[in-house]
């Protein structure tokens, strides 16, 4: 046999189609090669702005997702007489499934819409799922952000009006120093890998601060091990040192942040801790009125901020003309930092004080001495012309590592402030926004304020999720009790901007705040790795009232794969894979924008759906039409949209608004963007253009967007924002102070119930502060001295594909990685079976010695362990015999209660799940014990419609030898 150049052509008919990957949330452009209709090869699309031709291990394994034996292929109903979790189903038709749902949902909507709850996993369909929930009239809707990284979104957006995530990121093209803190690899993974390699090749220094050296930290120039949950202490100490040395960007702080603004310092005033205002603005809106004061050095008196010719003080304590004592916000910050010395931080983080100082000096001196000056003229929002854009090339990145702690919100505020002090916000080499960010602080969308927002047969008044700006924006009843099932936007988790999906089942089961009827879950594994105490959750799902009715009466699960969660469903709806559907990465949700301008994209089906699979989008549109939800029907109550593609083209946020899910090729002939009439050929235009729309802003609009006149006007003209007003960075958070004042009973706003006053007062601190994570505060650390955390391996970042035949060969099971010192101390060796135990549970697992972990920390790969037989795997697969889930050690609720009611193991500001707060101990398993992981669960098998045939050998060749592939 000779290898020839055209051997490929000898095979069946070929075709190449463009679409967008969804093996993870990164959403790279891909080219799918088909041979004889079967997927032959998936490669990165070189003409796609996001991944520029590269792909990752998951993306290149999409074939094995498409042909996975875990695929669900028909709607299923739980067999009468079987229990939830038994995984016993009978196939039904879609029309039966729809009428079941229609009847049930109609009667809920007619009576009490909040008894229907919709929670989704990978939240990239939020524009549609959110619209459905709102139109249905239920507030009980959220995606998985609340248990993922909401602290990141909230901490940064409440500070700088943008955030890491899909909303912004480090500008590694121009940075000279890059600091990555905690695990942060999942989001935007390929672009970050591309940028990181370029950054390293151009000689930049990469510092990784992380208890574990894995992921991108492997190629860091310097690894700084830190104890989990202590990042806030480090960041505050660094900021203190920067200010102490004068290594801050004074001009940036004065002009573009609220640092120099004067804060009322009279403890007896109801305005204590609020900025002093000159006048009340004519129009109230979600923007910062420019009516605050500076202290002018020349006149030695107060002046309106941004007054021409003023030279404001950044520090100091003054007395206004009317006698009011004031301090600058920056003075308050400096006061706050007094005790946060590097020596103090050493005791908490484990990082030597000298090293903390050196880190600060490297950041500060790089920012100061390697300044970038881009010859780009721009005008700021106060009318001042600038002939260049400045950059202080120190970039940061962080995500879950900082976020998944119950002190994460304040930690991330600290990080945002550090980035601001260095003068790096939306500047070259620092942090850059991505459209539609920056948003006002906080963004305009608000949750409803009163329980009456939920009414039978009516859409929800307000948004299910939003951004409270003050206590009056909370979604509570007269008694201050939550209206949402997850208690989001109540006094327990006031800024729960992404909801608390992790508490939904427990709350609904307990009936606190109330019981619900139907819970619909899309693509989330709450019976397994998406719950903090999966065993308890499984019991709750199966728990019945005295009358034999389930406590959560009806459970609908939509997923493409059989999973632990599917096994508990009453009704299973088989979703398609990403290769079988239309989809949009919408500007109304989490688009794929670039630093240089807005960007959104689509998926186009490249293969037909398997069996009866139906995209969840189609399910929602069908249901919405049947239920006659107003946005989905015309005036006569007739169905408005044929299907999802038709909906995408024709839906407008308001009749005639010209704003729809896709921003590209709008207008009748596709001549407009962002805003314009529906274009019947929009899909074709996306398809012709690599499935992506990308608008590059003029260079002068690409930086300093919080305060860039040109950009803000542009954004307003294109309806990205309502107000073209400056978005001053909130070094000092008045939003938080308003909640604190309410808790202190000093204001006329809504007041927290007495039992929550102290909590709100403590955590709603307008200045960043460090506290030990809540769970650790309540744990006996003598007995449980170690922190346990998880990360995800690169081949499975942000994916739900560990059952993938190729990827699982890279990681079929996980180990607990421990410092060899621990093994020596407790008498176990590398590879031994050990127990890892927390106050809440214990897990038997195999250990691996590692020198790349901070010795007081143990860690493992998350979500590799599976329940036996789930995900189309054999009952004896490594995932269930050797793989394990750390979740069994984590508690959903804290041991302490407030007012005798359980309290979530979550951040007290945002409700972010404190995944990484658990404390554990480890010890050797007995010789006599089974060499398999514990706990074990009764094995489940294949369900109707799943490929039951388990070939022992997979010999995949696309298009030929079909009979030998699993796909046959």
């Amino acid at each position: 046999m000779e290898y020839t150049a055209d051997s490929e052509r000898a095979c069946g008919p070929k075709e190449i189609r463009n679409t967008t990957c969804y093996m993870c949330a990164c959403r790279c452009g891909i080219r799918v090669h088909l041979r004889d209709g079967q997927v032959r090869y998936i490669e990165g699309n070189p003409d796609h702005p996001l991944n520029k031709g590269v792909i990752c291990a998951k993306g290149a394994s999409g074939i094995m997702k498409q042909y996975s034996p875990a695929r669900l292929t028909e709607p299923l109903r739980r067999k009468p007489g079987s229990n939830r979790g038994d995984n016993e189903f009978e196939p039904i038709s879609w029309s039966e499934a729809f009428s079941m749902l229609e009847d049930r949902l109609r009667s809920i909507r007619e009576t009490d819409p909040k008894k229907f709850a919709l929670f989704t996993g990978r939240d990239q369909m939020q524009a549609l799922t959110g619209l459905f929930a709102k139109q249905f009239g239920t507030p009980n809707y959220a995606a998985h952000g609340g248990f993922c990284s909401v602290n990141m979104a909230a901490g940064m957006i409440y500070t700088i009006g943008g955030s890491f995530w899909e909303f912004g990121g480090p500008d590694l093209d121009r940075a000279r120093l890059f600091v990555m803190i905690g695990t942060a690899e999942d989001h935007h993974s390929n672009p970050l890998k591309i940028a990181l390699a370029k950054f390293k090749r151009s000689g930049g220094k990469f510092i990784s601060i992380n208890p574990v050296r894995t992921g991108y930290s492997a190629i860091a120039d310097e690894w700084v091990p830190i104890r989990p949950g202590t990042d806030g202490a480090l960041l505050l100490a660094i900021t203190r040192e920067l200010i102490d040395q004068g290594l801050f960007d004074r001009e940036f702080l004065i002009r573009y942040t609220n640092s120099a603004q004067l804060v009322n310092n009279d403890p007896d005033s109801s305005e204590y801790g609020m900025f002093v205002r000159t006048e009340v603005p004519e129009e109230e809106g979600c923007f910062d009125p420019q009516n605050k004061l500076w202290w002018d050095r020349h006149r030695n008196s107060e002046v309106l901020t941004h007054s021409e010719g003023a030279d404001p003080r950044l520090l100091g304590e003054y007395r206004l003309g009317d006698g009011t004592p004031v301090k600058t916000a920056f003075q308050l910050l400096t006061d706050r930092l007094t005790d946060y010395t590097p020596e103090w931080a050493h005791g908490i983080t484990g990082i030597p004080a000298d090293r903390i100082r050196r880190l600060a000096h490297e950041m500060g001196v790089t920012a100061r001495d390697q300044k970038i000056e881009l010859p780009i003229a721009w005008t700021d929002v106060w009318g001042k012309d600038h002939d260049h854009v400045t950059g202080n090339p120190v970039a940061f990145h962080a995500m879950r590592g900082l976020a998944a702690h119950s002190n994460g919100f304040q930690t991330i505020r600290s990080l945002s402030i550090l980035m601001t002090v260095l003068g790096t916000i939306d500047r070259p080499g620092g942090f850059r926004h991505k459209a539609p960010f920056p948003r006002p602080i906080p963004p305009c969308a608000k949750p409803p304020r009163v329980p009456e927002a939920v009414r039978p047969n009516r859409p929800l008044e307000g948004m299910a999720l939003g951004w409270p700006a003050e206590p009056d924006d909370l979604f509570v009843d007269e008694a201050g009790e939550p209206v949402r099932i997850d208690r989001a936007f109540s006094w327990v988790y006031p800024l729960a901007v992404h909801g608390l999906m992790h508490n939904v089942i427990t709350n609904a089961w307990r009936g606190d705040p109330y019981r619900i009827d139907t819970l619909m879950i899309f693509m989330a594994n709450l019976a397994w790795n998406s719950s903090m105490s999966p065993e308890k959750v499984r019991d709750m799902l199966n728990d019945r009232d005295a009358d034999g009715e389930y406590k959560i009466p009806f459970l609908v699960v939509c997923d493409a794969f059989q999973s632990e969660m599917v096994a508990f469903a009453d009704l299973v709806l088989p979703d398609t894979t990403y290769l079988e559907r239309h989809d949009v990465m919408s500007m109304l949700d989490r688009p794929i924008s670039e630093f240089d301008g807005p960007c959104d994209s689509v998926r186009i089906p490249v293969v037909p759906p398997k069996g009866q699979c139906k995209p969840f989008q189609e399910v929602l549109i069908e249901l919405a039409s049947r239920l006659r939800l107003p946005a989905f029907v015309d005036k006569q109550g007739e169905r408005k949209f044929r299907d999802y593609p038709d909906f995408i083209i024709n839906y407008e946020t308001e009749p005639g608004s010209g704003i729809g899910f896709l921003s590209g090729w709008r207008g009748k002939g596709g001549e407009k963007f962002m805003q314009g009439e529906p274009n019947p050929n929009q899909w074709e235009m996306y398809e012709k253009n690599n499935c992506v729309f990308h608008y590059e802003l003029p260079r002068s609009f690409q930086y300093m967007r919080n305060f860039n006149r040109g950009y803000l006007d542009w954004a307003q003209r294109h309806r990205l924002i309502r107000y073209a007003e400056p978005i001053l960075i909130h070094v000092y958070s008045e939003v938080l102070q308003q909640f604190r004042l309410a808790a202190q009973g000093k204001t006329q706003t809504r007041q927290p119930p007495d039992h929550l006053r102290q909590r709100v007062e403590q955590y709603f601190d307008p200045l960043p502060f460090y506290y030990e994570p809540l769970e650790a505060q309540q744990t006996d650390k003598q007995r449980y001295p170690l922190s346990a955390i998880t990360q995800r391996p690169m081949a499975m970042y942000h994916s739900w594909d560990s059952q993938n035949a190729w990827l699982r060969q890279i990681h079929s099971h996980n180990y607990l990685y421990v410092s060899p010192q621990l093994g020596h101390k407790h008498g176990f060796a590398d590879g031994d079976w050990i127990w890892v135990e927390s106050p809440w549970g214990k897990v038997r697992c195999m250990c691996r010695f590692s020198e790349a972990v901070e010795p007081n920390t143990v860690w493992t790969w998350n979500a590799i362990g599976k329940a036996a037989g789930a995900w189309g795997l054999d009952a004896d697969a490594d995932e269930s015999r050797k793989g394990f889930l750390l979740n069994h050690l984590i508690t959903e609720e804290l041991p302490s209660k407030i007012d005798d009611r359980p309290i979530s193991n979550s951040d007290p500001v945002t409700g972010q799940a404190g995944w990484y707060d658990v404390r554990v101990r480890v010890y050797k398993a007995e010789q006599t014990e089974q060499a398999e992981t514990s706990p074990q669960f009764t094995a489940i098998g294949a369900v109707a419609g799943q490929d039951a045939r388990r070939s022992r050998v997979l010999k995949y060749v696309a298009g030929i030898m079909r009979d030998k592939t699993v796909a046959s």
């Binding site: 000779e2 290898y3 020839t4 150049a5 051997s7 490929e8 052509r9 090869y41 998936i42 490669e43 070189p46 031709g53 590269v54 792909i55 990752c56 291990a57 993306g59 290149a60 394994s61 890998k193 591309i194 990181l196 390699a197 390293k200 220094k205 050296r213 894995t214 492997a218 120039d221 310097e222 690894w223 040395q245 004068g246 004074r250 003080r313 000096h361 690169m794 081949a795 035949a805 699982r808 060969q809 890279i810 079929s812 020198e851 790349a852 901070e854 010795p855 189309g872 795997l873 054999d874 004896d876 697969a877 490594d878 997979l954 010999k955 995949y956 060749v957 696309a958 030998k964 699993v966």
Partner: protein
């Protein structure tokens, strides 16, 4: 004479395995396919891969390095696997130096895999033939593929561009330059196999901050401290006690 090869930059490889599965998907349906998987959904799944990434730690905490090391056939210039092949199935192409296995001639005797010091060859238990990296010989000359993409699948896939591809005998090629300028090295040169593939080492960037860089005349703190002329001193000065 041309010698095609991969040069892998360990300074940027993050161990993401994109090259591993891209290789697998290209080749299982390509001329060297299939690449079988045993127990694909069961215990201890194992399959044929032409390229694998090994991860190991070097050094002791806290001075630990985590190294990701992708490895495939190195297309040696003196390949020990070729002369040991009793059927001539294992051969090195004169025109581009790629080492290949002719499946029609291979009898699965494994001599070549014993001879290979790098463990680059894997026997396909089902086809009973020896398999390994082909440098994507069925891609790199295929004129139906756009010129810029006429490279091995793993090279196109790699998000960090850690995988360079080219002719190591052409001193002006990107790969030769990288080897020359960045300390590229071959694996186990003592074996005399002259591997064509090379690796580029980790490089470490350090920043030195001198103490005096912290002292600046334009330290912004000075703006916040009042330094201007102050009023008269109330305590005694020389003015009060002497007249000269």
């Amino acid at each position: 004479m041309t010698q095609l090869a991969l040069v892998i930059d360990l300074n940027v490889c993050v161990g993401c395995h994109a090259c591993v599965t891209s290789c697998k998907e290209w080749n299982t349906s390509g001329i060297a396919g299939y690449l079988s998987d045993d127990n694909p959904y069961g215990a201890e799944p194992t399959g044929t891969f032409f390229n694998r990434v090994q991860t190991f730690e070097v050094g002791q905490y806290p001075d630990t390095q985590t190294v990701h090391f992708p490895k495939s056939c190195l297309h040696c210039e003196e390949p020990p696997c070729v002369p040991v092949c009793p059927t001539g199935a294992s051969y090195k192409r004169p025109e581009d130096g790629i080492v290949l296995v002719d499946y029609d001639k291979c009898i699965g005797c494994k001599y070549c895999s014993w001879a290979c010091p790098y463990g680059a060859r894997e026997l396909d238990e089902h086809q009973k033939v020896m398999k390994k990296c082909t440098l994507c010989v069925d891609r790199i000359y295929d004129e139906s593929i756009p010129k810029t993409e006429r490279k091995p699948a793993c090279v196109n896939a790699c998000p960090t561009s850690a995988r360079l591809f080219g002719d190591v005998h052409d001193s002006e090629s990107e790969v030769s330059r990288a080897i020359r300028e960045q300390g590229g090295y071959a694996l186990m040169p003592e074996w005399g196999t002259k591997p064509a593939n090379h690796y580029l080492p980790r490089r470490r960037i350090e920043v030195t901050i001198h103490d005096d860089e912290l002292v600046r005349v334009d330290n912004p703190l000075k703006k916040e401290i009042d330094v201007g002329p102050s009023g008269p001193v109330r305590e005694q000065t020389l003015d009060d006690i002497t007249s000269w």
